[in-house]
Every structure is written in structure tokens, then in C-alpha cells.
Symmetry: D2
Subunit: 265 residues, 4 copies
């Protein structure tokens, strides 16, 4: 009997790209709040979500992951990855929520776990300034004046650049936030005549548990999206850049809430 949570399914089940949940994550985020054009934001919302506000946020994140028993972080090429998450504001049945129209990560295992949660992941190249807690011209300290940068490139084209200069500790995370974000789970059909009738097409809400947040630093930010011939990130480019944030978080994922099946009957 074949075993495994995702393909490949194999006799021992240890070859799956993503193992059975729970999935444990810990990482550091550099986030920037901004406003996009309200019509653009509305145009990216899926059926079932209403426009709420033009408020968006990007998260450049440095993650480490492990399965329940895997200790993958000791073979860190299996565990570490970077991500750039774009969240826009929305509402579901009148309740504000975040929706993710675009996201990039730099490892296949992150891509697969993402698809299962409805994150529309593609492979990208994400780089984020690190702090090493020693004063040096080669890096910032986590404290007032500490300056961090981050970049996103996809298939050899740079798509986004951001900087954040820390000013003060705050108690509030950026908005919108990825904690209970809404995604679309989607898996298409290939049989002739059914290319428009996905096998899976549903609005879902993320669930996480055992969430922990480090002290949160806030400051001023810059954010720029660059033109691209086919990726639509520039449609959601900043018209007004807000605050920047830096914080670490840990969380565990092993559940998901179905909001609505979007398949036409």
C-alpha cells in the first residue's frame, strides 16, 4: 500500500514533498503596510469576498520549518526558505480579513505546503537583511535606527524592493495580517472540455495554533514594485507607503476552514 500525504506516494511514505501535518514554522518578517489603488484591490478579490479598504501589506519572511518528528532544521536545505507574501484587505460576510493574491517562495516543499493551504505560491528569489547583534558596518542592530532591506525577483527580473528603519517597539502587528488570511484552494482538470472546471476551487481560511510573537519593532518604510511583462504585482503597487515592521513569529499549521465551494454546479 502506498503512503504519503502528497505526491510522490511510495511504500514507506518518506518521499512525499510535504509530509503529514502538523507543520511547525518559525521565522522573522520584515513587513510594510501600504495603500494600493482601491479599484485594483477590488479587482483581485475572489467570489465570496467583498472590498473592505485599499490597505495592503507585504511580508518578506525568513522561515525555518519542521514536521512533527522530522527535525528537518538539522538538514537546513530541507527546512529553510524565504517568502514574499502580499496581502490585501477584504471582508467575508461583513468581517474584515486578509486575502493573498500573490506570493513567492524559494523552496519546492514550501510551494507544495502552500498550495494545500491555498497560498498561490510560485518560486521566487527573496533576500532580507539580517541582524547579527554586533555593531558593524555590515549590518543593522535590532533597535532604533536599525535599517533593513528586502528584495524580490522572479525568473531573473527584480519585482520589488523595500527598506524599513526601526524606531520603536509597538504591541500591534501590521494590517492586514496573515494569521487568519483567506486563500483559494484550487486544482485544475486537464481532461479535454474541463479546463474551466477545476477539481478543487474553494475559499478557505487559514488556521494556526501555538502562535508566538517576538517583540515588534516599527518604523518608516520604503516600498517599490517594478514593471513586469506578465506578473500582475505592479497592478497593486503602492500609492502611499505606510509603516514598516520587524518581528519574529512561531506557529503550527494542521487545520483549515472551508468558507465556500466556488465550483459552479
Amino acid at each position: 500500500m502506498l503512503k504519503g500525504y502528497t505526491l510522490p506516494l511510495t511504500p514507506k511514505g518518506t518521499s512525499s514533498l510535504a509530509p503529514m501535518p502538523p507543520w511547525h514554522y518559525v521565522g522573522t518578517c520584515l513587513a510594510i503596510e501600504y495603500e494600493a489603488d482601491p479599484d485594483a484591490v477590488a479587482s483581485f478579490l475572489p467570489p465570496g469576498l467583498e472590498f473592505h479598504s485599499p490597505q495592503c501589506a507585504v511580508y518578506f519572511s525568513d522561515w525555518q520549518y519542521a514536521s512533527e518528528t522530522g527535525e528537518e532544521y538539522l538538514d537546513p536545505i530541507r527546512s529553510q526558505y524565504h517568502e514574499m507574501i502580499l496581502l490585501i484587505s477584504a471582508a467575508f460576510q461583513g468581517n474584515p480579513c486578509a486575502y493573498c493574491p500573490l506570493i513567492w517562495a524559494d523552496q519546492d516543499v514550501a510551494l507544495m505546503r502552500g498550495l494545500i493551504q491555498g497560498w498561490p505560491k510560485q518560486i521566487g528569489s527573496i533576500w532580507i537583511t539580517r541582524s547579527f547583534d554586533l555593531p558593524s558596518k555590515a549590518g543593522p542592530l535590532v533597535g532604533p535606527g536599525g535599517k533593513f532591506g528586502a528584495t524580490l525577483a522572479v525568473k531573473d527580473r527584480r519585482l520589488a524592493e523595500a527598506t524599513v528603519t526601526l524606531r520603536e517597539q509597538v504591541s500591534q502587528l501590521p494590517t492586514p495580517n496573515f494569521a487568519r488570511a483567506v486563500n483559494i484552494r484550487h486544482f485544475p482538470e486537464l481532461a479535454a472540455g474541463r479546463h474551466d472546471c477545476p477539481a478543487v476551487h474553494e475559499l478557505v481560511q487559514l488556521k494556526s495554533r501555538d502562535v508566538q510573537i517576538s517583540p515588534i519593532w516599527k518604523g518608516e518604510a520604503s516600498l517599490q514594485f517594478f514593471d513586469h511583462p506578465y506578473l500582475e504585482l505592479p497592478s497593486l503597487c503602492p500609492v502611499k507607503v505606510g509603516a514598516g515592521y520587524r518581528f519574529s513569529c512561531a506557529l503550527t499549521v494542521d487545520d483549515l476552514t472551508l468558507l465556500r465551494d466556488l465550483r459552479s454546479k
Copy 2:
């Protein structure tokens, strides 16, 4: 309204990781026929397929891809990728067929198109000797004595090495062949309590059209799989290595045949 064949779904639909089929492919394959342990082969077969023989084949392939109108090959980072395909022999309702237990590719777009066809793709690093049609110590000619090598590595560990020395042109492709291979399409659930009840779990058979094959070269081969802590390729290691092949092929994919829904009711 959001458009796109796969995630991400966006207003213009140009951001999808995989665009709407048809998908056009052209590439060169270095293939090695071999026999694995029959019990091992049987243990990798999914429900619905019967054991047929211990005959296996690996294909190291150098692909270029384009969508119907995309001309992606002119921006070749969008179009080119390498693949290592493992096929084992099986039978469906008494008819011999190929089944793919493991496959690696080096681009996210190939991974996504693969998942939709049931190819259990993961990202790997595949390298294949090229011929440049000029006599040189730096490369083989496509002709008697021309020697080609290929390697597969996954997450910084080498998994397979092969060589093929061409001897003669033949009219027969290697067996098993990927033309009408059988795969499992699979997309899991994440909602608590449903981790064992995939949303999609079906036995499918590949379809392709407009297939063209170059002259086929055949010769002797070597093939070696290396130990790995969790990937199960070594379970299907060669007990007897057969012939090697080199050929190019072109094909178009926009259909798939459902053989059986494997979900338990």
C-alpha cells in the same frame, strides 16, 4: 472576475504558474533501460495497477516548452528545464503500461504542469551531456562511440549517475515509455480529521498529440543510484542495466484520461 488556469488567479490571468493548455514541448532524452527487484517494483504500484515485469527506465531530459501563444522559449528561463523521470512497468486491466513513481524537474512551472497530470514532481538538479556537432575533447558527437552522461541531485545530495555510449540507430523507443504513462493525480485535504481523505486521488493516463521523434540512437549504458536518508529511489536501484538511448521528441498536451477514482467512499 479572476482568471487563470492555476493559482494565482488574477484579473488578467497572466500570472498563473501554468497557463491554459495546450502545452507544447520539445526536448532531448537520454534513457536507460534496467531491471529492478520485482518485489520492489510491485510495492510501488498504486491500486488499480497490476505487476507486469521488473523492467524500468530512467529518462534524463532537456526540455523546452511553450504555451499556445506564449513564445516562452524567447525568454528561455520561462521555458527550459531538465527532468529525471523514472518509469516502472505495470498493467491496467491486463494491458501493459508505464507508471511513474518518482520524478524530478528544475523549474516551478514544470512542477505545476506536472502535478496537474499526476507526475509526482519535486525540484531536483539534473545535468545532461550535450553534443554540439563539432569534434572536440569537450563533447561527444551523435554517432557511434559518442558518450553521454547524466546526473540527478536533490537538496544537495547526488541520487543518480548514468552514462550512455551510442552504437547504432534503431527504430524502437525504450521500454517502458512515457508516452501513455499512468500517473496518480492527488491533492490532499488539510481540514482537521481529513488528512487521509484527499480531495483528488485518481488514476489517470497521459495523452499527447502531434508527437514527433528524431532518429533514435542506442548503445550500452551504466546506471547507479546512491543511498539517500528519506527519498526512496534506491529501493528501485538497478539489479541489471540494459541498453541506453538518445533521441529527441516533440509533443503537445491538452488532455488526460481518467482511469479510476481512488478515493474511498
Copy 3:
């Protein structure tokens, strides 16, 4: 006793990044002739070379390499690499020659062999359309109307894009040509006070032997350089784009001619 042609020097001498010459190369080039601003071209010339014309050429090349006894092409990750070579026109003591101000390659072994020949190599990401000699929407044929593309990116920013549409076979290679190009060999000092006094700083002319050239295809071309915050390729951007070319070549390198020691006495 330590052995090796380059660092690292080791007991067996098999760890050197570049082994003892001769070095054998075979590859395919997509080349575009163009004119840059004459003042810009002149400003990139080193001492010892005079301005000759504003004629430039870029070569996007797909290489395979082997040492005298190494058969590195059978472990192709050791052997294959891509390159983007920029050549500008110059004259040495009244004789026209090519000079290379900028070049990128995607393997460390190519970078090291390059530095030894005075190629000012950096690591870049180069992609070039391939032909697989089968009619397909996924790739061109080598013949009239065959359309090829190539791109260069460096550290996640795209720097150059080119296309060539083949029209006819010709007997003339593009100009300027890399066969006997002039380079600067350069190795700096780090001791305090000597940062401006390189240990090696000399004008050299490339030598190659056993050169073979495939049929040469010529046609029309497009070429574009993109802005960059610190790399100076855009200073040599096209003001007029000429013809495009595609050809393969093989050559062997194990010698070099010193033209002039550029160190101040």
C-alpha cells in the same frame, strides 16, 4: 609537495578550481552586432589600446568544457556553463582588435579560467533559446525564420535581452570577434598602502588553437540593455542594432600573449 594549477593547492592536485591547460571548449553562440556611443566605447579602453570604431558585439554562449584527460562533460555540472561576452572595437599599435570590458558566466570554474586569461568575469544568469531539430511551437529550427532569444541577469536584476531571427547562411563571423581578443590580466594587492599597486596588471591577447566553426547563420536582431544601479553595461547600450548570428565553435586554450605590463614603475 602541493600540486595544482590554481588554488586550492593540495597533495594530489585534483582539487584545483581550474586544472592545468590545455582547456577544450565547444559551444553555441548567439551574437548581435551593434554600435554604441563612440565616447562611451573610448572611455572603456585600457592604456595601450586606441579607439577604433563604435562597433560592438554581444555573445550569448552555451559552453561545454573538458580538460586534457578529464572527460568533465560526463559529469556535466563540472563542464557546462553559459556566458554573456561583451566585446568592443579597439586597436593595438594600429591593428584592429576586440577588447572585453564586461562578461558574465554561471560557473565558478569558468570564472577562474577566465580571470587567468584576463576575462573580467562575474557570475550572472544567462539563458539562450535552444533548437532541438524537430518542428514544434516550443522551439525554433536552425534555418530561415528560426527565432532565438537570450537574456542576462546579475544578482536578481535583468540586464540584457536579445533576439535573433535567422535568414541565411554566411561565411563571415560577427565583428568584433573573441578569437584574438585583448584582455587585462589583473590581481590586486591587499597590503596596506598597496591597494592601488596590483601584483598583476597587464595587457594580454588571447590565443586559441584547433578552432572549428559550424555553418554560420545570420539574420536580423534586437538588443536591449536595462538600467542598473552600479554595473556599467548600460553605458555601452546600443544606439544602432546590426545583424544577429548563430554558430557553434570548438577551440583549445593553453597559451596567451603578453602585450604590455601596465604596472606603473
Copy 4:
């Protein structure tokens, strides 16, 4: 006039792979002390150094770099890299020192700065467990019991794996240490007949200033080198593994001491 500290030399001098020193570094090291076979250690020593002891150390390091005015860490793909440094024990004129026979890094700019200091760098893939200072199954805390892993692969083959479990803070850095290590600066000739007469071949000792060290954690370690067909790291494999360490450090490099010119007269 062309400017720049290394190739390429250009009108503005901003294209050089490595800019003019000083070079500022900050990073975190995971280090393992071990003993190799004494004859093997002796066989790797260059002329001018005497055998001192079989004590070796490997450093897996996560670096961030900036030039004097460059703030490269805000465009982190220019600044961040990983390294695996092997140091063996030696003595120069009776004084114990460290010597580096082999080292791998994952960025071209690190490779070039390294060659100038005599580090025998090649490109490799280095991964190191990170701590994010939050309790999680996905990563260790920096404290008693915190377990870190690191791996090295070169050209798709894994060469080394290590783990360190932290136990206590100590005041002593591992031995041998890279602070004042001895290297060979080396730049070969390519002119026919001079392949054995390098242009630069000298024993040098590293200098650094403004060194800062974080608290140092020490614990037990594991370390394994894997067989390789041509890289000689396995010759220096552990016969006895000692303690493991984790610490951060910052330092500035803009000088070097020449110990001896090794060129034969």
C-alpha cells in the same frame, strides 16, 4: 582612465567584483574542532609552514558584508553568503598558526575577495540551522540543549555534515582560529612554458581589525566528511571529533602581511 580594485575595470569603477577595501563583515559561525590523520595534515602544508599538531576545525559561517560606503546589506543578494572554512594547525618559524587548505562560499564576490586574501575559495552550497529566539519545533534556542546542523555540498555532491548541541558559555574560541590564519596568494601564468611559474605565489598572514565577538557557546559535536571523486576534503576527515561552538563575530579587513614569496627564482 579605468578605475576599480578588481576586474572589471571601468570608467566609474563601480562594476568591480570586489571594491576597494576596507571590507566589513559580520556573521555567525558554527565550528567543530577535530583531529585528522597527522600525516594527512602534514601533506597539506605549503613550503614555509611546519607541522604542529593534527588539530583541525571547520567553520560553517553565515556572513553579511559591506564596503566602506556601500550599505550592500540593504540589497542583501550583494552582501550575504555562506562559507565552510577548513583550518589545519601549523607553525611558521616556530609560532603556531592556522592554515586553510580548502574553503567553499556561495557568492562570487566572496570568492574574489577571498582569492585576494589567499583563501582557496570555490563555490559550494552551505546550509546552517538558524535560531529565531522563539521556542518552536522548527528551530533551536541559543542555550543549553540547542541543537544546530550544517551541511556542505559542491557541484551536487554532499561533502560534509555536522551537528552541534550547545551546553555552556565559554570564553575561548575554537582552535585553530581564522583570525590570523596563513594562506597562499596565488595567480598562475597561462603563457606557454610558464604554466608552472605562477605570477603570484606567496605565503601571507591575514590581518583584521575592529574584531568583536559575541558570547561563545560550546557543546558536543558530530562531523562527517563523505567520499568524493576529486575534491580532497575526505583526506582530512575526522579521526576524533572534539567540541562544537557557536558564536557571532564582526571584523574589518584592509591589510595583509606577506610572510614569504614562494616563487622559485
